[in-house]
Amino acid sequence: MGKNKKNAIDYAQNLSHELLTPLAVIRNNAELLLQSPNLQKDDLKYLDDILKNVRRMNNLNKSLILLSKIDNEVYEDLESINFMELVHDILDNFQKPIASKKLNVTVGSGKTDRIISNKNLMEILLQNLIKNAVIHNINNGEIHIEFNQNAIRVTNSYDVNNPPPKNHYKRFTSSKSKQGSLGLGLSIVKRICEYLNIQQSHTITENKYLAEIKL
């Protein structure tokens, strides 16, 4: 690894450390204040906003660290991964939002269910694709995850009144109606694909969104 890259990683990690302590101070003080017995409804609302935004900043911070790590190529090991197992593990994490939106999730694969790649990166990539498919979905919508030797495809229904923005895979582009969404998910996907040297594409049809990763 070049010296500049090493410096950039060190810088990102130092920055992350420096931000986490003040975030912890803000969160702790909000939690302490919340213990006061005489809080009015409005006071609680302000505290709730502070706490929500601490969480948002924390997630943003984590995503930026992740992007910087990928940008600086620190993922080198390749292994044979059981793709279906990985998908089901990830879907498990999303059980609750999937249930609350009553999404119909289907998973299909070709002959093989193994893929050679870096497990960490593949997991982050799939997590982000599936997370997007869940978040930007509609009630009673659909998600279809498909895997074969040539491609990974994640298809989902979306709100036709609020279609994905044109440049939606650029950093910090998030749909206006989803406050709290960071707009980093797809740029992480894009960066991982560049890193693994695989093609990715997004297709928006009349009522379906398709994210495709060519293997």
Binding site: L20, V25, L34, L44
Partner: protein, 225 residues
């Protein structure tokens, strides 16, 4: 219960001391490895909350020192680094748990209580809260000798409330406790609400009083009446 809180950031330390003193612990603090070593040679603690990066170095090295002097003392690492290697190393050296910043005070409190319980009450695995009795080995909840059938999430939720009784706990902290901070969904609050609703219903059906109150959806409190 005696705690040693090790943290070099003064504001963070202040907030932790305030919270844990109010929670009934007897707290002392240290801001450097040197101070930790001094403290543990003079005093006995039930648990040490240990920040990893201190002005005079990485405090992983003090873990074995604490263990040698006070085998019964629990150690929970609180670190700004989510690096997996540090976590594995810390646990290998004898720490009991690991939490990354920014943590929730209620989460830290629940973890400290769980560690102290494991260390002190070898043999007894029952937590009693009024008529509610929890067997932490069997993960079983009883009210008046009747088993209350809870899902894993409902069980975790109840235990989290009882560890933090009489304290307001935030929706975010509950959501992160149950699902991890990966669930950065706006609808995770609804999930908390629906699990809580089911839990309250099951407890009420088994004849338990309703101890859990909502604070306009910002947080909840389990009150010992």
């Amino acid at each position: 219960m005696k705690l040693l809180i090790v943290e070099d950031d003064r504001d963070l330390l202040k907030s932790m001391l305030l919270y844990f003193n109010e929670s009934g612990y007897n707290c002392e603090n240290a801001k450097s490895i040197q101070e930790v070593n001094d403290r543990i040679s003079d005093h006995q603690y039930d648990c040490v909350v240990l920040d990893l990066s201190l002005p005079d170095g990485n405090s992983l090295s003090t873990i074995s020192n604490i263990k040698n002097r006070q085998a019964e003392c629990g150690i929970i690492i609180v670190s700004a680094n989510s690096n997996l290697d540090d976590k594995i190393l810390g646990l290998d050296l004898g720490a009991d748990d690991y939490l990354t910043k920014p943590f929730h005070l209620s989460e830290l409190n629940a973890r400290i209580k769980s560690i102290i319980r494991r260390k002190k009450q070898a043999g007894s695995s029952i937590i009693q809260f009024n008529e509610i009795s929890i067997n932490t080995d069997a993960k079983e909840v009883k009210i008046a000798d009747q088993i209350v059938k809870l899902t894993k999430k409902e069980y975790d939720l109840l235990l989290y409330f009882i560890y933090n009784k009489n304290k307001v706990i935030t929706k975010t902290s509950i959501s992160e406790h149950l699902w991890g901070d990966f669930m950065d969904f706006s609808d995770s609050a609804d999930s908390v609400y629906s699990h809580l609703k089911n839990l309250k219903k099951k407890l009420a059906q088994a004849g338990s009083e309703d101890y859990i109150e909502s604070l306009y959806g910002v947080g909840y409190i389990l009150k010992d009446k």
